[in-house]
Each structure stands twice: as C-alpha cells, then as structure tokens.
C-alpha cells in the first residue's frame, strides 16, 4: 500500500495555486469594473474597437507561418542529420545546439543587417523569416527521428519506398511527439516575439499584439486584462490539443 505523503500533496497544491492564481486573477479582474460585474471590457476589446482583434489575427498569422515553416524546415534538416552520414554531420549538429542556446540579443544586430540587405526590414517578413530558420526545431526533430527504429525504415525501403516516402509514411507517424513539440514551441516563439518587433519594425501599427499590448493606455486596465485573456486562447488550444503528444515526448525522453 502506498504511503500517503500529506506534505507532498500540500506542496503540490501550493505550487499549482501559485501557477493558477494569476490566471484566475486575470479572468476575474477582466470582468470587474469599479467593483461590480461588467462585461464592458470585453465589449471594448472584442466589439468596440477593431484594433485589438486585428492585431490578434496578425499575431496568429505570423505565429502560424513561423510554426509551419519551422516544422517543415526542421523535419527535413533533422531527417538528414538522423538518417544520413555525411562529412561534418556531428560538427554541424553541435553548431546548431550552440546556436540554439545563444540569447536572442546576440543575434539581433546580425539579423538586422541581413534583413536590411534582403529588403525585409520594417515588414512582417523581418519577423517571419528569422523565426522559420531557428535551430531548436531541427535539434528536437533529430532526437525524435532517431527514436524511430531503423528496422521499420529498412523494411519500408525493401518494399520500394523512396527517401521522402519513407520520411512521410514511416518516420513522421512515429515521430508525432517531436512534430507536436516543434510546432508548439515554434508557435510560442512567434507568439511571444518582443525584441524582434521592436528592433525590426518601425511603426506602431505593424507591431504584433505581444508588443502592442504593453503600450495600452493605463486609463482602462480592464480592457488590457480582457486582451490578455484573448492572447491566452491560441496557446491554451495548442497545449490542450497536443497534450498527449507532449506527454509521450516527455515520457520518451525519460525512458532514454
């Protein structure tokens, strides 16, 4: 019979509360105006003015393009790293890992110069293009593809599968958790962009909601809170939808 540990339970409840209470405060405060229940903040954020929702959809668009692009690029790169031998493979993979841990502030200026040369500066492409070519997804997918048994791929090859067919029909179905992680993390990266919009964009009207919310006038804090609730929606959806894949990915990492 398992020994009950009340202290652990209390600690777990306390830590959970520490995480959950800010969201509850956000929800409750957004529905209160001058001490009374009022949906006025939601009316202002969702109907009264178009700016909040337009910025929300712009952020959704940018983050989705970044997530899809990074997942595709990372999958193809990881396939090469995981299943093919070529000179400098390990050195390249190590370089990717080092680049992955570099803080964003280190790459801001070099990216600025490259984007200026490419003519993407002060446009949405200045957020999307650097967001797609990020090493994080390649590293995650490499580990995920390596976890797919080689025998399955060889069996598929024996049945006449080509290189890309083996990737899409055998490897990717087995690397679902890695795909989900890559998509989710790259979406979150795109959703939480702060330094890049401030550096690469010039006008306030081009800022995604992650940056623009910080400049909301303080006269109406309840509208700001309602917008924060709106900002949580896509992230909550992705975490809830990919819950199983994320769990599988964590447990697979634990088993290794």
């Amino acid at each position: 019979m398992r020994k009950r540990r009340p202290f652990v339970a209390i600690l777990a409840v306390f830590l959970t509360a520490l995480c959950v209470v800010p969201f509850l405060y956000l929800l409750v405060s957004s529905l209160m105006k001058d001490g009374t229940f009022s949906a006025y903040a939601y009316y202002q954020a969702f109907l009264g003015q178009t700016v909040y929702l337009l910025r929300f959809w712009k952020s959704v668009g940018i983050s989705t393009i970044i997530a899809v692009g990074q997942t595709v690029i990372a999958t193809l790169a990881a396939y090469g790293f995981a299943r093919f031998r070529f000179p400098g493979r390990n050195a390249l993979l190590f370089t990717l890992m080092v680049l992955m841990i570099l803080p964003i502030q280190v790459t801001l200026m070099p990216n600025f110069m490259v984007l200026e040369e490419l003519g993407f500066l002060y446009t949405d492409a200045s957020l999307i293009v650097p967001g797609i070519f990020v090493p994080l997804g390649a590293v995650i997918m490499t580990q995920s593809i390596r976890a797919v048994p080689v025998s399955q791929v060889e069996a598929a090859r024996l049945d006449g599968c080509g290189t890309l067919q083996a990737l899409f029909k055998v490897i990717l179905p087995g690397a679902r958790s890695g795909l989900a992680c890559t998509f989710l993390l790259s979406f979150l990266d795109g959703w939480n962009l702060v330094e890049q919009p401030i550096t690469y964009l010039r006008q306030f009207r081009d800022y995604p909601i992650s940056v623009a919310l910080a400049t909301l006038p303080p006269e109406d804090p309840t509208v700001l809170l309602a917008c924060c609730v709106l900002v949580c929606v896509p992230v909550l959806f992705l975490f809830a939808f990919f819950n199983r894949e994320l769990g599988e990915g964590v447990s697979m990492g634990g088993e290794k």
Binding site: Y40, Y43, L47, G48, L53, F204, V233, F241, R244
Partner: protein, 347 residues
C-alpha cells in the same frame, strides 16, 4: 480529448471571428459625427471666431472641442478639449486667439467626449424633417422657433416640421433655439459652522429634439439587426448540434464548418447594409438594449398621446420583419435538427 478540445475551441474561434467581422461596423457606428471649422492659424486683423453654439455644456462646465490626430492605440481623428487659453467667449460667438491652429467642432451628433473617435461630415443634405420636441415634466411647450411648423402637441411635447433640416441630424444645432419655460431654481445652502450662505443655480433639464427621420431609419434597420442576432444564434446552435446534441453532426465536421463559414459570410454582407442613425445611439455601448427600448418607448407614447400616426407604419414594419427573421432562423434550426435525425435513422 482532442474532440472535446476541438469542440470547445471551435466555438471560441467562431465567436472571435464573429466579433472580428462585427467590430469594424460597431466602431464605425459609434464614431461621433462632427461638423468642423478649420482655423488655419494665420494672423489677421481680427481674431477668427466660431459660432457660440460650438460651446458644449457638460454638467457645470462649458467646453470648446477640437479634433486631433491620435497616435498608437488612439490612431485616427479624436476629440480633444481646446485649451482655455486659446479662446474667449464673447456675445454670441467664440473668439479664437490669433495664431492658434485647430479644427474646432461646431456641432456633433452627440455630446463629444475627449478621446472618442470622430468622423467629419463634409457635406450636409437639406430637406424636410419632423421633430418631436420633448420638454421636461411640468414645462410648457410653446417656445420653439417660428420656422418650425406645428403639427400636433401633448402635455409636454410638440410635433413640428422643419423644411430646412440638415442630414445627418445634429440635435445640438437646434437645442439652443428651443427654450424651457421652467425657470431655473436657486438653491440656498447655509454652512452651519460659518453661517456662510451659498446660492446655487440649478438649470432645468433641457429639452430634447428627436428627428422622426432618424427614428424611422432606426426602426427600418431593426430587422437587419435581428438578422445579425439570428446569425449568432444559428452559429451557436450549429456548434451545439455538432458537438453536444448529436454525434452525427460531429461526423460531418466539413458540413458544419461550411455552414459556419456561410453564417460568417452572411454576417459580413448584412452588417454592410446596416446604417444606424447616430443621434439615436447609446453614448457608450452599441449593445445597450435598454437605451433603444427607452427611446422608442418614449417616442411611441408621446406620439400616441398626440394622436399622431407618423411612425405607426415604421413601428409595425420593425415588429413584423423582426418576427419574420426570428421565424426563419428558428425554422432553419429545426430543419437542421430534423435532417440530422433523418441521417441517424437511415444509418
């Protein structure tokens, strides 16, 4: 689990998209319509001036407003108070200091509030309009300009026609011409500690002038507003039918998605056709149903008291058409339920 998540967030997505389509229309309707006079700032022999009616009274204060270009979240033309140092009130007009450059609001469709978005009306059309002038309780009702032609009256209201009315209608332009015969009250308060006597003059509530043309426009727009409400209900019903009431609906996600897209498409077409009169809108929230109910109820009761049938056809059109819209919406929902049962029986 994935199905439950998709179910919940499909409703959230539908509602957010619904609001995205609706919000440009709401923000456009809630813009205050203004008539402005541009003061160029050129230094001339005489200071530029504007009509005294440009002064708006707010509780105990009288203020001159201008429009300015906002920044950031407040982008677009916005209302701002003109600094007191920039103008002087004189007999019948307001003198603007030499060298001051601003766009003064002469009149507005409703009381300007600093920070509100505005739309400048460049051209007005002229035509005949009928006004319902409502005085406060206890007022006599005969103090309106000679240019108004009497049609009917009741205890504290009168129905008049005016052949030189301007559209869009700005109540503020006519309020100064309509006086109340209820004299102002003088309230005398004595401070018990110092014995100091203070006199406060309480002005009676001013008359209201309601345009019957704008009221008719509101009533004729109500069926389209009912369509918007019905589209929202149908979208929620479709979601409930697909995710809660019936497993068959879930097996046809493509059908439900296409119907949802059709509802959103119908919404975007419908809101483009709705044009609510600015003078009849609530000051804060377009969805303040109690404001519309109060206004229409007051207008209808005054017209009935006068024995006037000027808006009877518009009222009955609004009621009948809204009922038809509601009936069609409910019939569509019932039809979907029955179709779903038919599929269930066939399988």
């Amino acid at each position: 689990m994935k199905r439950k998540v998709l179910c919940v967030f499909s409703l959230v997505l539908f509602l957010i998209t619904f609001c995205t389509i609706l919000s440009p229309w709401v923000s456009r309707e809630m813009q205050t319509l203004v008539e402005i006079k541009k003061i160029t700032g050129k230094v001339t022999m005489r200071n530029p001036n504007v009509a005294g009616s440009a002064i708006h009274f707010q509780e105990t204060d009288d203020i001159l407003f201008q429009i300015v270009e906002g920044e950031g979240w407040q982008a677009g033309q916005r209302v701002q108070e003109v600094s007191r140092w920039s103008y002087q009130k004189e007999m019948g007009h307001v003198s603007i200091n030499a060298g001051t450059k601003l766009d003064v609001i002469l009149s507005a469709s409703r009381q300007p509030v600093p920070g509100d978005a505005v739309a400048v009306v460049e051209e007005f059309t002229e035509g005949e309009d009928t006004f319902l002038i409502l005085w406060p309780e206890g007022s006599l009702r005969n103090t309106y300009p000679n240019s108004f032609t009497w049609i009917a009256d009741s205890e504290n209201a009168v129905l008049v026609s005016f052949h030189k009315a301007r559209f869009p209608y700005f109540e503020h332009r006519y309020l100064s011409t309509v006086e109340s015969l209820v004299p102002p009250e003088t309230l005398v308060t004595i401070d018990t500690e110092t014995g100091e006597q203070t006199e406060t003059v309480i002005e009676p509530p001013s008359a209201r002038i309601i345009s019957m043309t704008e009221t008719r426009q509101l009533l004729e727009s109500l069926p389209l507003v009912a369509v918007v409400a019905m589209l929202l209900l149908m979208g929620i019903f479709l979601w409930a039918q697909g995710c809660i009431l019936s497993r068959k609906g879930w097996k046809k996600p493509l059908r439900n998605a296409m119907l949802g897209a059709a509802i959103l498409g119908a919404l975007s077409v419908t809101v483009e056709r709705i044009d609510l009169p600015a003078s009849m809108l609530p000051p804060k929230s377009l969805l303040d149903i109690s404001h519309y109910a109060g206004e229409l109820s007051a207008i209808r009761s005054q017209l009935s008291a006068m024995g006037s049938t000027i808006l009877d056809d518009a009222f009955s059109y609004a009621v009948r058409s809204s009922a038809v819209v509601a009936g069609i919406g409910i019939a569509a929902m019932v039809a979907l339920l029955l179709l779903d049962r038919l599929w269930k029986t066939k399988d």
